[in-house]
């Protein structure tokens, strides 16, 4: 079973082999390193750029204008905040230009906390990104979705931001990517670059198949009746665990929805679940003022206010300037399992 980051790498290989990807560019994405998280090891079209995020985004846009299909990486989303004007242009150019041009770029970037990253390797980006009209934004929480969302991002002729949950990059999937060998050791031998000298190394790619996770489709990973729990990225597996614990401890069952696609989002699935349960909790780790979860809450209030059985909730990160390196800071800044479990129990059991 591939790890999430291996799945991304395989998707990029599939993309450059079958889907027309022309360039995979970013800081340290080319040889010898292949990305600070190994996401781009051994890829044909990967090349290193100057240390200049504006250049990376701008070049990707130019490549797309001229007919290429680039996948650009921002090494950490924390370093993308000087490019928001360019991201806006990428998102508005088609609209502003009356439909003259498409903008088929994929921007991928690790996002979120969980690797002891201190201030600048712990940011979440989805709330910012969700404000970028013209963009699509996805965030997988497991290897197979990472593969399928990455392929969709490549195929989609619009700018797509792929947020990769840092904390889950090395987590192995539970489902096989079509074509990957079942033995993780074998996969590693085939596609992971060796430590040390890599000059002679070439990956031996498994014979992968196309697998698309359509943009705008969520995944229902648990079914239940007592509450709806919606999340994505790092907090998604925690939400699954919380739901499982709640079932064991209190016999309460929940729909757990892995949103996967942040914009556009699968409103139908959320809506139907809320209609069924009347109780909803949105969980993410981005900071709590003007947070994307608050948008989802607003939609629920707008369309299901009179269907709700209990106060709907959003569990988010604190509105503080950063996540500190000492784990005391991190544990008390972004949602952890106990917070999720406690809030979920409250939503599921609150008297109507």
């Amino acid at each position: 079973m591939a790890t999430l980051v291996q799945a991304v790498r395989m998707a990029l290989h599939y993309g450059e082999t079958y889907l027309g990807v022309t360039d995979i560019l970013g800081e340290d994405v080319g040889p010898p390193l292949g990305g600070v998280f190994t996401a781009t090891q051994g890829l044909e079209t990967a090349w290193n750029t100057p240390l200049d995020e504006r250049g990376i985004v701008g070049a990707a846009m130019g490549i797309a204008y001229a007919g290429g299909r680039p996948v650009a990486e921002i090494q950490f989303c924390d370093y993308g905040f000087n490019t928001i004007d360019l991201l806006k242009v990428a998102g508005n150019q088609r609209w502003a230009g009356g439909g003259n041009y498409e903008m088929p770029i994929v921007l991928m970037t690790p996002s979120g906390s969980g690797i002891r990253g201190s201030l600048y390797h712990s940011h979440s980006f989805e709330s910012w990104a969700s404000r970028l009209a013209g963009w699509k934004v996805v965030m997988p929480s497991n290897a197979l979705d990472a593969y399928g969302l990455m392929l969709s991002a490549i195929v989609d002729p619009n700018p797509v931001l792929v947020l990769l949950p840092k904390a889950l990059l090395r987590v192995r999937g539970e489902k096989l990517i079509p074509g990957e060998p079942a033995d993780p050791e074998l996969l590693k031998q085939l596609i992971d670059a060796p430590l040390g000298d890599r000059t002679g190394w070439r990956p031996r790619w498994p014979d992968l198949d196309e697998y698309l996770v359509p943009i705008g489709t969520a995944d229902q990973v648990r079914e239940g009746t007592h509450a709806t729990l919606v999340s994505y990225g790092r907090t998604l597996p925690l939400c699954v665990k919380a739901a499982d614990l709640l079932r064991e401890s209190d016999g309460l069952t929940c729909d757990v929805i892995d949103l996967r696609s942040i914009f556009p989002y699968d409103w139908r699935m959320i809506s139907q679940s809320v209609l069924k349960t009347g109780r909803v909790l949105f969980v993410n780790e981005d900071s709590e003022v003007t947070n994307f979860g608050e948008h989802l809450l607003r939609r629920v209030v707008e369309e299901h206010f009179y269907d709700l059985l209990a106060r709907p909730r959003v569990l988010q990160g604190q509105h503080v300037p950063g996540i500190g390196l000492n784990q005391i800071y991190e544990q008390n800044t972004v949602p952890q399992l106990p917070h999720i479990l406690e809030t979920l129990r409250a939503v599921a059991t609150e008297e109507a």
């Binding site: 022309t22 360039d23 750029t49 100057p50 200049d52 504006r54 250049g55 985004v57 701008g58 070049a59 990707a60 846009m61 130019g62 490549i63 797309a64 204008y65 001229a66 007919g67 290429g68 680039p70 004007d85 360019l86 242009v89 150019q93 088609r94 609209w95 502003a96 230009g97 009356g98 439909g99 003259n100 041009y101 498409e102 903008m103 088929p104 009209a133 013209g134 699509k136 392929l151 969709s152 195929v155 989609d156 002729p157 619009n158 698309l212 359509p214 943009i215 705008g216 489709t217 914009f263 556009p264 989002y265 699968d266 409103w267 139908r268 939609r299």
Partner: protein, 347 residues
């Protein structure tokens, strides 16, 4: 009249036919800009920005481009003052007045964007964004595809003097000179000595902006943008360098700003800057290439053409509320929510 073979400027010359062609395009651009200034004042349009004072240089640029769609042709990251370049490429006046009149028929933006914010896919004119600097970050991208593709298509990026303060200007130089990966980018600065109200000399110590290319091995030239002959040849050399060497070149064109910054600052005619068109007419008259009468005729014809283009645009439809969201997204086979275009929040 066309028996005069050439017109000279310094050591350089241009054949009389070309001079007349340039002149006519300059007149058409000037007349159109002046008419669109009127539109902004009369309420026929909301806003004006344009290139009076840059016609000599901009026309010469437009005439030497390799016009078409895709990496075989030149990619253009234009300035909001590039009207004359587009006219020289063959854009009808109507496609400017449609934007000035914010009609749905505006081919650049469907009545959405300010005048001068062009976008024409058929000629590789990528959408002009108001964000000064951004185009310098994008230009290496189009050039990279061109270099890889082969052929002699180049990327031309045009910006103002003040805009060279943005970090993206340095980005363009660095990305265009990566060792072994040099890119065919022609960086043009139309230096009118102003950024809105701020004199270039109050903010910049570089003797010439093109000097900044030197450390990167980017050759540069400064040209009198009020002189069509000098401009023609400087552009010829610069484009040739990029086309053949597949490397960047920087060209600084010293131009005038004859109607101030934009309609926001009044767009009044200034008196203390050289007028390339008046100078050119004096020269062509002296050279016997044109007569007063032939000049008057050209102006008259251009005025008529501009008036018709305005009238036509004003008769064309405006956007409707249904147009607000159009072209937010390109149709996608892998999006279940927006397979076609944006239709409001997901439902």
């Amino acid at each position: 009249m066309t028996t005069i073979a050439e017109v000279n400027s310094g050591n350089e010359a241009l054949c009389a036919d070309q001079c007349m062609r340039i002149h006519q395009l300059m007149v058409r651009a000037r007349v159109l800009d002046e008419r669109m200034i009127q539109m902004s004042k009369s309420g026929e349009g909301y806003f004006w920005i344009g290139g009076p004072g840059e016609e000599a240089f901009n026309v010469c640029l437009g005439l030497q481009l390799k016009k078409g769609c895709g990496p075989d042709y030149d990619f253009l990251h234009l300035h909001y003052r590039s009207l004359a370049t587009l006219l020289a490429m063959g854009m009808p006046m109507l496609d400017a007045t449609r934007q000035a009149a914010v009609r749905i028929t505006d081919p650049h933006s469907m009545g959405r964007n300010f005048l001068g914010h062009s976008a024409l896919r058929k000629w590789n004119v990528v959408p002009v964004s108001s964000v000064v600097g951004a185009k310098f970050a994008m230009a290496p991208g189009t050039a990279l595809v061109q270099k890889r593709h082969g052929g002699d298509g180049v990327t031309v990026v045009v910006g103002g003097d003040a805009g060279s303060s943005q970090g993206d200007f340095a980005t363009c130089m660095i990305w265009s000179t990566r060792p072994g990966q040099e890119l065919p980018v022609l960086m043009i600065v139309t230096n009118n000595q102003w950024g809105i109200s701020t004199p270039m000399r109050s903010q910049h110590s570089e003797q010439h902006i093109v000097d900044r290319g030197e450390p990167f091995g980017i050759p540069g030239e400064v040209v009198d943008g009020n002189d069509p002959i000098a401009s023609w040849h400087a552009l010829r050399r610069a484009l040739q360098w990029c086309r053949r060497k597949r490397r960047p070149f920087m060209l600084e064109s010293q131009v005038s700003r004859l109607h101030g910054h934009s309609s926001s600052s009044g767009a009044m005619r200034v008196e203390n800057e050289p007028d390339c068109l008046a100078l050119w007419e004096t020269k062509l008259l002296a050279a016997g290439v044109l007569t007063r009468a032939s000049i008057d005729e050209l102006w008259e014809a251009a005025r008529g053409e501009a008036a018709a283009a305005v009238q036509q645009a004003l008769q064309e439809p405006e956007p409707t509320p249904d147009d607000v969201r159009r072209h937010t997204y390109a149709p996608s086979p892998v999006d279940v929510v927006y397979p076609d275009d944006y239709t409001g929040l997901p439902h």
